[in-house]
Amino acid sequence: MGLEQKAGNMGIVTTSLEKAVNWSRTNAMWPMLFGLACCAIEMMAAQAADYDMSRFGMELMRASPRQSDLMIVAGRVSRKMAPVVRKLYDQMPAPKWVIAMGDCASCGGIFNNYAILQGVDEIIPVDVYVAGCPPRPEGLIHGVLTLHEKVRKEKIKDWA
């Protein structure tokens, strides 16, 4: 017996600021156009006709880190590439999220050697890990939806 019932008749929906902001963040999350290795090909497949990630508000891959919210680390990160990845992450405006796509980005995968970083979480914080070598496009989409769930649960007091 409150505002909702009266306002509902007038076509007004009430919600909390927290929910509204989280909802808009999940549905317009722009990933960075940034591929490293094999997983980047599956990331492209997820963007293309058959899998079509734009269903989740992600059709716009931004080539500039300054315009993106989500970094999908798609592939193995070599020691030469690591500082570049870190720099790209630092250039992204907050709030920002990271998905480690594939085994190499998550934990080094099959390449346990001098050249490959054993997981991109050595240099940047990771929100969601997607397993697979490479993960199927469905796997990546599942990872993205898992991230959406995480973002939806974010609390107003945690916003920086």
Binding site: L33, L36, A48, R76, I110, F111, N113
Partner: protein
């Protein structure tokens, strides 16, 4: 942990001309994160206004250490890493690696396995060229090409998934044959693909051949002469686009390629457009090879019967003591080829892909060296792009079909 630091321009200073150092020309960094470098290539550009004076490629951003790691794996295990080298050509990489191992151990491959290998390698070539066509056209502004090409690429990946359970990194081709026989639906699925493809290739032609912008941005751009091709040791569609009819499938037939009837498309112009034409025509030739392979696909085993190198079929393990011993030995210790060194090369979608392998008689290779086409072809970028506008550089870099996993290994 080893020290991680960034490569600065200073380290490339010895490659930069005095004109750039004095500020007469401009130095511009392109990559390693750039949508048109098809991966993590870094190009240091020296520009005079908008005109490219010099290009200095800086590679190694995807150095994976495959060659070194292979020395600590046995022969079967090292193959898994070859998939991930040139990640648009996993079947071809497996094939090259297996050819080297088979040469070393003098293994014979049954005819059915040979034919299936050829079919899969050609399917892989089509999928690689499709991805190239999609992304390169996208770079030049033909957005819809990307969606169409990826659509057809899914058809090929579905076939790979059918035979091996994996879309990309299959490791389906093994030393001595294949992992297993193809399922019964294989033939009909591939035939459906063969039926669909010619019309789709026609569709790409319709989209690009009448596209003024695409033609303007490819014709006469990035010219590479025959002499340059020989001097830089280039291979693949890059040299066939300069009129050199060199293809290892014809010149050094492997896996029974000499039994197939196909042409090598060449174009004499040597520009970006010629390289595009070569690749599109190669797809048609690959379809021809696949059709012939399917028509004469023999029946029989798909693995060599040499139990010292090839594991016995699962069904034998329960009934034969020898088979059990061989299975156990092969999967714990691996096999020990005789000492010696071999070189095996195949025609990958990008050019000559070679594996040099040295054995010291133990279960692990003493040295594996990978001769990769992108590494050689990348040298041609400065030659092709000098005196062109910086916007044309995008088309030129795209036209050599770089895969950085292939160049950096």
């Amino acid at each position: 942990m080893t020290d991680i630091r960034e490569v600065s321009v200073d380290e490339l200073r010895h490659l930069v001309s005095d004109r750039a150092m004095s500020g007469e020309t401009m130095l511009l960094n392109m990559g390693p994160q750039h949508p048109s470098t098809h991966g993590v290539l870094r190009l240091l550009l020296e520009l005079d206004g908008e005109v490219v004076v010099n290009v200095i490629p800086d590679i190694g951003f995807l150095h994976t250490g495959v060659e070194k790691t292979a020395e600590s794996k046995n022969y079967q295990q090292a193959e898994v890493m070859t998939d991930r080298l040139d990640y648009l050509n996993p079947m071809g990489n497996n094939l090259t690696y297996c050819l080297a191992v088979e040469k070393l151990t003098e293994l014979d491959v049954p005819p059915r396995a040979q034919a299936i290998r050829v079919i899969l390698a050609e399917l892989q070539r089509i999928s690689s060229h499709l991805l190239w066509l999609g992304t390169s056209a996208l770079d030049l502004g033909a957005m819809s090409m990307f969606l169409y090409c990826m659509r057809e690429r899914e058809l090929v990946l579905n076939i790979f998934e059918l035979v091996s359970g994996q879309r990309m990194m299959t490791t389906f081709i093994r030393p001595g044959g294949l992992w297993r026989d193809v399922p019964v639906e294989f033939e009909t699925t591939v035939r459906d693909f063969l039926k669909a493809m010619p019309r789709r290739i026609q569709e790409y032609d319709d989209l690009l051949e009448k596209n003024e912008i695409f033609l303007d941005r490819t014709k006469g751009i990035g010219i590479l002469t025959k002499e340059d091709c020989f001097q830089y040791g280039l291979s693949g569609p890059v040299i066939r686009g300069s009129g050199v009819a060199h293809d290892l499938r014809k010149k050094q037939p492997y896996s029974g390629y000499d039994l197939y009837d196909f042409d090598i498309p060449t174009h004499p112009e040597g520009d970006v457009y010629a390289r595009y034409r070569v690749r599109v025509e190669e797809m048609t030739q690959s379809l021809r090879i696949i059709e012939q392979g399917l028509n004469k696909l023999p029946y029989g085993p798909v693995r060599s019967n040499n139990r010292k190198y090839v594991p016995p079929p699962r069904s034998e393990i329960g009934v034969s003591m020898e088979a059990l011993i061989h299975h156990f030995k092969l999967w714990t210790e691996g096999f020990t080829p005789p000492t010696g060194h071999v070189y095996a090369a195949t025609e990958s979608p990008r050019g000559e892909l070679g594996v040099y392998m040295e054995s010291d008689g133990t279960a692990k290779p003493y040295r594996v060296h990978l001769v990769t086409p992108t590494f050689a072809n990348l040298q041609a970028v400065p030659v092709m792009s000098r005196k062109h506008y910086i916007a044309d550089l995008i088309g030129i870099v795209g036209s050599i079909d770089i895969v950085l996993g292939d160049a950096d290994r």
